[in-house]
Symmetry: C2
Subunit: 324 residues, 2 copies
């Protein structure tokens, strides 16, 4: 991809055109020192996450628009995991010298597509870098009247409820890196990896339904993310791996590849589905929202009982990904 090279301010202007959808909450948007947002009062929720070229994405596996789209969704997912309604996002780009204007604008299209109807792009910044592309999104939301879904609120007896399917993103990555020709037959796996959609509405509903004590989004992998909640809440869990919701495409791809789709669901990451920890009385309501009961919270910090086929099995080794 080649093309005329815009300067920093012209490039920002061209990106801003893509984000220009007036929104009553955005009092001051792109082009000033900072964004100003109208908030009715109460609790503001804020999160930030970066996608780094070569770590979180590879150009041979996804397009610029996918990267922009995913960078927003990853952050909206963190808002959802708090039960928060999105308000706006900020976009920070560290641009390597060899990225073209066209790639940057395609990336901006992906950002606009993910944010347009949910959380307008209200500001950000652009910088050069001698290294890889870094796309940083900050998402801001509000907690209206609902509960704040922290990680440290799970209690013994709580049902562990999963928003499915889980494992598809990790299988999509595996497909793209080992059997790219199968991409056409399993488009849902490829999409789960490239362009995941955060459970924005579900997060707000979980905060409003009552009885949800904790929640997290599955980004590091189901077992790893469950572990974060158990650690913060000082409790244990009993998990029935057979109940974890798995997509039909995931089962079919695994059958073809000789893989275990349950392993993919337990250890994989990047799904951005929600897991909620709820009082038993809230289970029917959560099932009504499409969630599946996959286990329960038990006493004992760090205790983890994993069941498959009705039998207790050992934990898989080192689930999750460490950035250090």
């Amino acid at each position: 991809m080649k093309g005329r090279r815009l300067g920093e301010f012209a490039l920002i202007g061209r990106m801003a055109e893509r984000f220009r959808h007036s929104h009553p909450r955005v009092l001051v948007g792109i082009g000033d020192d900072a964004a100003v947002l109208e908030v009715e009062g109460g609790r503001v929720v804020a999160t930030t996450d970066s996608l780094v070229e070569g770590v979180h994405f590879r150009w041979d596996l996804c397009r610029p628009a996918d990267v922009g789209f995913k960078a927003v969704q990853v952050n909206l997912s963190d808002l959802a995991a708090m039960g928060s309604k999105p308000l706006a996002v900020l976009l920070g780009l560290c641009l390597p010298d060899d990225i073209t204007d066209r790639q940057v604008l395609e990336l901006a299209d992906g950002v606009a597509s993910a944010s347009r109807l949910i959380a307008p792009v209200a500001g950000g910044n652009v910088s050069r870098t001698p290294g890889p592309l870094v796309v940083t999104v900050t998402a801001l939301g509000v907690l209206d009247g609902g509960d704040c879904l922290r990680r440290d609120g799970a209690r013994p007896g709580d049902a562990i409820m999963a928003d499915g399917p889980i494992g598809s993103a990790a299988l999509g990555l595996r497909l793209l890196t080992t059997r790219p020709r199968l991409a056409r037959r399993y488009p849902s796996l490829v999409a789960a990896y490239r362009t995941p959609c955060a459970s924005v509405d579900l997060g707000v509903e979980l905060a409003e339904v009552g009885g949800v004590h904790a929640a997290i989004d599955v980004s590091d992998g189901l077992l790893a993310d469950l572990g974060h909640v158990l650690h913060a809440s000082r409790v244990g869990a009993r998990l029935d791996a057979d109940l974890v919701p798995i997509a039909d495409d995931a089962r079919a791809f695994c059958a073809e590849m000789g893989l275990d789709p349950v392993d993919a669901a337990l250890a994989g990451g990047d799904d951005y589905r929600l897991v909620a920890f709820a009082a038993p009385h809230a289970v029917p309501a959560l099932e009504g929202l499409g969630m599946t009961r996959i286990g329960e919270v038990i006493r004992g910090k760090g205790r983890f009982e994993l069941f498959r086929g009705g039998r207790r099995v050992p934990m898989p080794p080192s689930p999750g990904y460490s950035h250090r």
Copy 2:
């Protein structure tokens, strides 16, 4: 610097210890999916900016703590330029493989030092990168009752008021890169470059004093940043360069080096002082806040009249820095 290597979560834990100062506004801090902040309602201000190794800083010119400190100040300065009171910051780190735990924790010390009493670190994220260190700070603030100091509010007849001194940071960088042995004799220049302090209180006062129509912080350079306001406000300016506040150390260093301190003030950047555009009746109040009148807004978009020694002089070529 060598040392035991902590994993991602242990490292985050060690950093979080440095940021652990309970604050009533931070309802949920580090360790959850997102931060939750108490806001009394009204207007929330948000800004994000990154410092990239090799672009915004070099390890031979500053220490890890300086980088962390500056990353916060740069963002607090953007809040100040909107007239906003800081609320909290988020810290995003992209860590190269060769950075040591000790360097990361020193950087966190710098972040803590800049944020502790002003805007607690309420969250963030850590990622690996195959490239240079990227430190991204997002700063959140509120506009209580005061004006919002936008870039597009300057009006013909407004006085242009500068918070001084200006130019010291650019001279500090020049000193460090060309005459490092002079660092001991001009510590204020070195500090202006390495550890600038945002005009946090002044920003809030400008919003409250009444009659301030626009403001910006000097990050790209005085002329470049003035240009941003003039462009957004569709007005021109007459600037008396002799009135721009310049530090004694800057004058002395320039005399020794055969440099013009006024040129450094006009073209330099990284000062993080505020420039306000205010109705004439507000000038005494702004002078009472330590600001200096350096010019006035005139009609005519893009018109820029620069005076030195009572005479009009041509504009210096291409002030400011482009990240593209």
